[in-house]
């Protein structure tokens, strides 16, 4: 402090620029320099190079801060860049006078942050987007340069205050087709990036360790005074993983609460909507600048943020109820006022022009259940999210019987179910209570979701509607037969996955029966089931090691498996299980659906060791061909892991309710 020196602002600016170029050059070439030095066996220590480059960037920031201060001092002395010089017509560029500044104090980037915050505050307070834009044109670059600079970030967000969170409202265009100009977008992007970076920073040590973002900012973010503006910072800010997951979770809760409380979450209306075209355009504008959707999208990208929200045992269900809903669209408008009085004499008409907004909601629901399975806290939150989503869906089904959730949300529910088959399968026969816990109540086991069977029924009633959806889901379950066989053998507990899957299959069938589908629809279901069997990547047929996924070999295998008429003989010859069936078509269907996955499971579990020259197995994956049928026929009574092959296959058929 107090180290005053005289400087020429223009010269200082030039010096800063050259320092910055030097830093850039070094940063760009440093990998090559290190590589060459090592190659030449240089004894110069290059390991400190990255550190030196980082220090050079700090120097650039310091000099930049001093330069900004020098110009500021010059302006305080009455200098203006554009002024009328004597004898010259019109404005001309003038050099600033020399000034004296405190070299040490102004060299700290915290000062720059403080000044940028002041600039921002003044510009936003002006309430004129044009003025604000001019005042802010240098801000994005400064914010970007200091993204990783804690001193700057702390000073900027402390100085900018909650006003910065309302930048979107100050900057939006009052007319025209776009809501934000390119310059405004640049400011919002930079502010969003800065906020995201700051959200991940911590200050202090030990017990004093706390978020760098000041309490006022954090309160402003979640205080809902202007949720739409906050949402725009998130929309234009970086991808979800660049944010602190806790902050995104808090933001999500705040947004959902604001939405539920009927607060203004939409972009500001601009002028009166004169025509039907205006009204429908405004609906599209609402969809494009949807603040809640923006936050949900970022939280979904982050993953953990979504799990913090729905995985909280105390509040997760409340938010799951808001998300699992059919109201994810823009409000729509009353077309009445735009119709001639002849057509429409008066009174309110049903709202029209709603734009679907369920995509971010659906993505959020998926992310909430997609933690890696295991014993981690993240896996725990994921399991609780499953419990809550199932409960919320069941409640929706009950309260709005006959109402369908949006397609995308139903897709997420199927994702939840597909990812948690073993959880649902162990839950399916009981109706005690729901909750997340560790399998068998052992702390070394993964977290699982247990739901009451009533709730599971409610979930499937919503998730599965069309015959093709039932077919696809059954196909998915059938494709897991091999995994279930292997898991039953390998799991150290006395659990029978195959049997539990059978129970779940029964529930799906009950739900399907309640639909009373007709004959042709059943054919659709069958087609979808077979398609899913072929497409599923885990276990079963999806795991076939096709070397060329779409080549002629693939189709040959599929046709062989499907038992096209030309290949009927191949399938029927010597098939020992044929005697069990009266209907040959049904038999082929079962060869396709159960035997291959069963053999696959036995191979996976190490119970079957295929001969080295077997053509029905390649790289550990079982291939449905004629040789496999022969092998199965010859080994029908051979015992594997204590039971005959026929026993295994029959049990799998039973579990999957495949008897004709």
């Amino acid at each position: 402090m107090g180290d005053f020196v005289g400087v020429d602002p223009d010269n200082l600016k030039e010096l800063t620029k050259r320092l910055e170029q030097l830093h850039e050059l070094l940063a760009r070439h440093s990998p090559l320099i290190q590589q060459k030095m090592q190659k030449w066996g240089s004894e110069v220590a290059v390991t400190s190079l990255p550190g030196l480059i980082a220090a050079a960037l700090d120097d650039v920031r310091d000099m930049d801060a001093r330069t900004a201060r020098a110009y500021e001092l010059a302006r305080e002395q009455g200098w203006s860049a554009l002024s009328s010089a004597p004898g010259v017509l019109g404005p001309a560029l003038t050099r600033p006078p020399g000034v004296r500044l405190d070299w040490e104090a102004t060299g700290q980037s915290g000062n720059q942050g403080k000044r940028d915050a002041e600039t921002l505050a003044a510009a936003l307070a002006a309430k004129d987007p044009e003025d604000a834009r001019i005042a802010l044109w240098e801000l994005p670059e400064s914010l970007r340069r200091h993204l990783a600079d804690k001193d700057y970030q702390a000073a900027f967000w402390a100085g900018a205050g909650p006003l910065a969170l309302r930048a979107a409202r100050a900057l939006y265009e009052r007319t025209g087709s776009a809501l934000f100009s390119a310059e405004s977008v640049s400011v919002l992007r930079a502010l969003g990036a800065s906020l995201a970076a700051a959200s991940q920073m911590r200050v202090g040590t030990g017990e004093d360790r706390r978020p760098l973002l000041p309490a006022a900012i954090r309160a402003g973010l979640t205080g809902n005074s202007d949720p739409w503006s906050v949402g725009m910072l998130v929309k234009y800010g970086p991808e979800g993983r660049s944010w602190d997951s806790r902050l995104l979770a808090d933001l999500t809760r705040a947004m959902l609460d604001a939405r539920a409380a009927g607060k203004t979450i939409w972009p500001p209306a601009r002028g009166k909507l004169e025509t039907d075209v205006d009204a429908s355009r405004h609906q599209r504008l609402m969809a494009e600048y949807d603040a809640v959707g923006a936050v949900l999208q970022r939280a979904a990208e982050n993953g953990m943020a979504a799990r913090h929200v729905l995985g909280d045992p105390a509040t997760g269900l409340k938010y799951a109820r808001m998300l699992v809903n059919d109201d994810w669209h823009t409000p729509g408008y009353d077309p009445g006022p735009f119709l001639s009085s002849y057509v429409h004499p008066g009174g309110a008409l049903p709202l029209t022009g709603q734009v679907d907004l369920s995509a971010p909601t659906a993505a959020f629901l998926k992310a909430a259940v997609s933690a890696e399975r295991g014993t981690s806290t993240d896996a725990k939150e994921s399991a609780w999210s499953v419990v809550h989503i199932v409960q919320a869906t069941a409640e929706f089904s009950k309260l709005h019987s006959g109402t369908l959730l949006p397609e995308k949300i139903r897709g997420s529910l199927m994702h939840v179910a597909g990812r948690h088959l073993p959880d649902f399968a162990q839950s399916v026969n009981h109706n005690f209570a729901s909750g997340a816990l560790q399998q068998g109540n052992k702390s070394s086991n993964p977290w699982v979701a247990i739901n009451k069977v009533d709730e599971l029924e409610g979930l499937f009633t919503q998730a599965l509607q069309k015959p093709s959806e039932f077919g696809a889901f059954k196909g998915l379950m059938a494709s897991r037969v091999s995994v279930a066989v292997a898991a039953t053998i390998q799991d150290p507990s006395d659990r029978n996955y195959l049997r539990e899957m059978g129970g779940l299959f029964g529930l799906i069938q009950r739900v399907e029966n309640s639909h009373h589908f007709e004959g042709q629809l059943h054919a659709d279901e069958e087609a979808a089931k077979n398609q899913m069997l072929l497409a599923t990547a885990s276990g079963g047929f999806g795991a076939l090691s096709f070397s060329n996924p779409f080549g002629p070999g693939t189709m040959a295998q599929i046709f062989t498996a499907l038992g096209t008429p030309a290949l009927n003989e191949t399938f029927d010859t010597g098939h020992a299980l044929k005697a069990l069936k009266t209907n040959l078509d049904a038999s082929r269907q079962q060869v396709f659906q159960v035997e291959v996955p069963v053999v696959q499971g036995l191979v996976d579990a190490g119970a079957v060791h295929p001969p080295s020259n077997a053509s029905w197995v390649r790289a550990g994956r079982v291939i449905p061909n004629a040789a496999l049928v022969d092998w199965i026929s010859l080994h029908a009574d051979t015992r594997y892991a204590g039971r005959t092959l026929t026993d295994w296959i029959t049990d799998a058929q039973t579990a999957m309710r495949m008897q004709q």
């Binding site: 162990q426 109706n431 209570a433 659990r495 892991a641 039973t654």
Partner: protein, 110 residues
């Protein structure tokens, strides 16, 4: 353990088949589940009361408080891990199925 499990798996097979071959349209699923819930609690209580469940299987099990079986999600996941475990000559699954079939008249036979 493995062999025992597989034997048990085979043992329960006829029962499974019997339950599955008929196209079941239960008059009320709720009734079935309510019976099954009550039967499971009674069966486990019966086996615990008569010392048929080894103490290692009951360590740190939150559903057992003061030797009383508490219904809940914790019991469901424990049951799953032991469905093929043989207690007093039968797997837990068979115990549960038999008690459900006889409910509400089922009494602990031990």
């Amino acid at each position: 353990m493995k062999a025992k499990k597989l034997v048990a798996l085979t043992m329960c097979l006829p029962l499974l088949l019997a339950g599955c071959t008929e196209e079941r349209r239960l008059p009320s699923t709720d009734d079935e589940v309510t019976k099954r819930d009550a039967a499971l609690v009674a069966v486990v209580q019966c086996l615990v009361d008569h010392g048929e469940v080894p103490s290692a299987h009951l360590e740190h099990q939150p559903w057992l408080r003061d030797k009383k079986v508490q219904p809940g999600a914790e019991l469901v996941t424990w049951r799953s891990d032991h469905e093929e475990t043989v207690y007093a000559g039968k797997t837990l699954q068979v115990w549960e199925d038999e008690a459900t079939a006889g409910w509400p008249g089922w009494r602990c036979p031990l």
